[in-house]
C-alpha cells in the first residue's frame, strides 16, 4: 500500500496542487497542467525559441519539469541502481521520438496528463485513453504476426 500512496502523492497530488494552487494560476492554465511531459517540453523549447528568434511560437512560460525528471532519474539510478536497458537500434529511437512528440502535440497531451485529467473527470481524456489503447493494440497485433 505504501508504493500506491507514494505514487498517488507524487504523480497525481503534488503536481496538480502546486501548479494550480501555489501559483494562483488556475485561470490561465488548462486543466490538470501540473505533470505533462510533452506540454512542459513544448513550453520550454518554445520559450527558448521565442527568446532567441522572432518566431513567436506558442508557450505558457519556462517550465523546467522535464529537466527535473532527467535529474531525478539520475539521482534515483545513483541511489538504487539502473533498470534494464532499452532494446533496439539507436536510429529507430530517434525516429520514434520524433513521431511521438508530433502525435502527442496533435493530441495536445501525453499519457501522464491523461491520467491526471481522468482524475479531474474529463471526458476528452477518456476518449484519448481509448485511442491510445487502440494504438497499443494495433502494435501488438503487428508484433504477433
Amino acid at each position: 500500500m505504501r508504493k500506491f500512496l507514494v505514487k498517488a502523492l507524487v504523480l497525481g497530488f503534488l503536481p496538480s496542487l502546486t501548479f494550480h494552487a501555489l501559483l494562483e494560476a488556475a485561470a490561465i492554465f488548462p486543466q490538470a497542467y501540473g505533470l505533462c511531459v510533452i506540454c512542459h517540453a513544448r513550453d520550454l523549447v518554445n520559450y527558448l525559441v521565442d527568446s532567441l528568434t522572432q518566431a513567436r511560437f506558442f508557450t505558457y512560460g519556462p517550465h523546467l519539469s522535464v529537466l527535473g525528471i532527467i535529474l531525478g532519474g539520475y539521482l534515483g539510478a545513483r541511489r538504487g541502481g539502473r533498470t534494464s536497458p532499452l532494446q533496439g537500434r539507436t536510429l529507430d529511437f530517434f525516429l520514434l521520438g520524433f513521431l511521438a512528440s508530433v502525435t502527442a502535440l496533435v493530441m495536445g497531451m501525453c499519457t501522464a496528463r491523461i491520467a491526471l485529467l481522468i482524475g479531474w473527470g474529463s471526458l476528452e481524456a477518456v476518449i484519448y485513453l481509448l485511442g491510445v489503447l487502440l494504438g497499443v493494440l494495433l502494435w501488438l497485433r503487428r508484433e504477433k504476426r
Binding site: K7, L9, L35, A41, G97, F98, T111, L129, G131
Partner: protein, 155 residues
C-alpha cells in the same frame, strides 16, 4: 529578463520534476507498459486483482495517479478555484483521437511513454537520449510546419 512569476514557476516545476523523476525511476513508472500488459494478458490482470488488490495497486500506475489527481481536484475545489470543464469541439476531439491512436502505436513500438524515456535518459541510456533528441526536434518541426495544418483541420 523573465518576470518574477515565471522564475518562481520555473523553480517550482523543476523541484516537482526532480521528485517525479526520482519516484518514477525507483518504481519504474511507465504509462504505456500497463496498457500493454492489460491487452496482452487480460486474464492475468484479472487474477492479480482477485488474488490481492493491495499488491495490484502497488504494481500499477494509473490508479495511483488518478486517485492523487482526484484528491488534488477536491482540494482545489475546497480552496475555491473555479475548475469548470471546457466545452468539447468535435473537430478537435477527432483530430486528437487520431493523434492518440498514432501516439499509442509509436509509444508501444518505443517501449515507453515520454516520461519513461526522460527518466531513462537520466540513468544514462544512450538510446533514450537519442529518443529525446528526436522528441525535441519534433516539437520544433511541429510548430514550424504542422501547426497551421492541424489548426485548419480542427479549429
Amino acid at each position: 529578463m523573465a518576470a518574477e512569476g515565471e522564475t518562481l514557476r520555473a523553480l517550482l516545476t523543476f523541484a516537482v520534476g526532480v521528485a517525479v523523476g526520482y519516484i518514477s525511476q525507483r518504481y519504474a513508472v511507465c504509462f504505456i507498459s500497463p496498457l500493454k500488459r492489460l491487452l496482452l494478458l487480460p486474464q492475468l490482470v484479472y487474477y492479480q486483482i482477485k488474488a490481492s488488490l493491495r499488491e495490484f495497486l502497488d504494481e500499477s500506475v494509473y490508479p495511483g495517479a488518478v486517485v492523487g489527481s482526484f484528491a488534488a481536484f477536491l482540494c482545489l475545489r475546497a480552496l475555491g478555484y473555479n475548475l469548470g470543464q471546457p466545452h468539447l469541439r468535435v473537430g478537435g476531439v477527432v483530430a486528437g483521437f487520431v493523434g492518440a491512436v498514432l501516439f499509442g502505436y509509436v509509444s508501444a513500438a518505443a517501449g515507453g511513454c515520454p516520461l519513461h524515456m526522460h527518466w531513462k535518459a537520466g540513468e544514462g541510456d544512450k538510446k533514450a537520449w537519442s529518443y529525446l533528441l528526436g522528441f525535441y526536434l519534433g516539437i520544433i518541426y511541429f510548430y514550424l510546419f504542422l501547426k497551421d495544418l492541424v489548426m485548419e483541420l480542427a479549429p
